[in-house]
């Protein structure tokens, strides 16, 4: 059994090893951005990230279904065709906390990520690109969350 202590020790070893090689990813060094993940509105989120007001852009794409058969699992994706994106964020406007996921963009990955999120109700889903030049670009799409099954 891998208990909590050995798990921590092991990840510390990995961190040391990667750090020693000068290959430590930024996120592993940085503390988890709790304030960003607790932001209740998009404005609060941008404040927590030290970013400016987002501007809608056709160079950013959000992928999501029109209708979700169940709000517990909604497939969503964020991507951009622009060079110079630093981070891609996935947001659900009407969730208790708006930020679902943040992905670092670097030279080794395509600026295109897909995951699945929980949605408490019908809402806009946003893909936000934080650009190296300080611009904040986004695309959004409304996802309708339906009531399903017998409902009991």
């Amino acid at each position: 059994m891998l208990n909590r202590r050995t798990a921590l020790a092991r990840s510390a070893q990995v961190a040391l090893m990667l750090g020693g090689l000068g290959l430590m990813p930024r996120a592993a060094f940085a503390a988890y951005p709790t304030a960003a993940f607790e932001a209740k509105t998009i404005a609060d989120l941008m404040k927590a990230l030290g970013a400016g007001a987002p501007v809608e852009s056709k160079d950013v794409t959000v992928t999501a279904p029109d209708i979700a058969e169940n709000g517990a699992v909604v497939p969503v994706g964020a991507s951009t065709t622009l060079a110079g994106a630093k981070r891609l964020l996935l947001l659900v406007e009407k969730n208790p906390s708006v930020l679902s996921a943040a992905f670092d963009v670097n030279e080794f990955v395509e600026p295109s990520f897909t995951t699945r999120v929980k949605m408490g109700q019908s809402s806009n889903v946003l893909a936000v690109a934080l650009m190296a030049d300080g611009r904040v670009l986004y695309a959004q799409k409304e996802v309708k969350v339906t009531l399903g099954g017998c409902g009991g």
Binding site: R4, L18, R26, A28, F37, E110, T115, V117
Partner: protein
């Protein structure tokens, strides 16, 4: 010990699509149990990936990512036979690393 991930990495030219399924509750901290007690938050906070040991992906997640999470990303410059390792770490400090070979 956390259950293993399922990782698929498929190369097409210069781009390798990596699909990952992780076994995790992703508890939001907002739900209550049958007795009305709040179930504490328990979720993956960080996901990283290495290609042959070189960091290629770094992501941070909140508790609104779905239970048993799915992640897809595209790595540049990988070829068949390369190793993709994925690591997650949750808010309890638990971590899990699994590896797949690019096909």
């Amino acid at each position: 010990m956390p259950d293993p991930m399922r990782i698929r990495a498929q190369a097409a030219g210069d781009k390798t699509t990596v699909r990952v399924l992780m076994s995790h509750e992703m508890e939001t901290g907002l739900r209550k149990d049958a007795a009305g007690k709040t179930i504490p938050a328990w979720f993956i906070q960080e996901v990283t990936a290495q290609l042959n040991g070189k960091p290629v992906l770094s992501a941070e997640w909140g508790p609104s990512v779905s239970k048993n999470p799915f992640l897809q990303f595209i790595v540049k410059g990988a070829k068949a036979g390369d190793k993709i390792a994925v690591t997650w770490r949750d808010n309890r400090g638990e971590t899990r690393t699994d590896e797949a070979t690019v096909s």
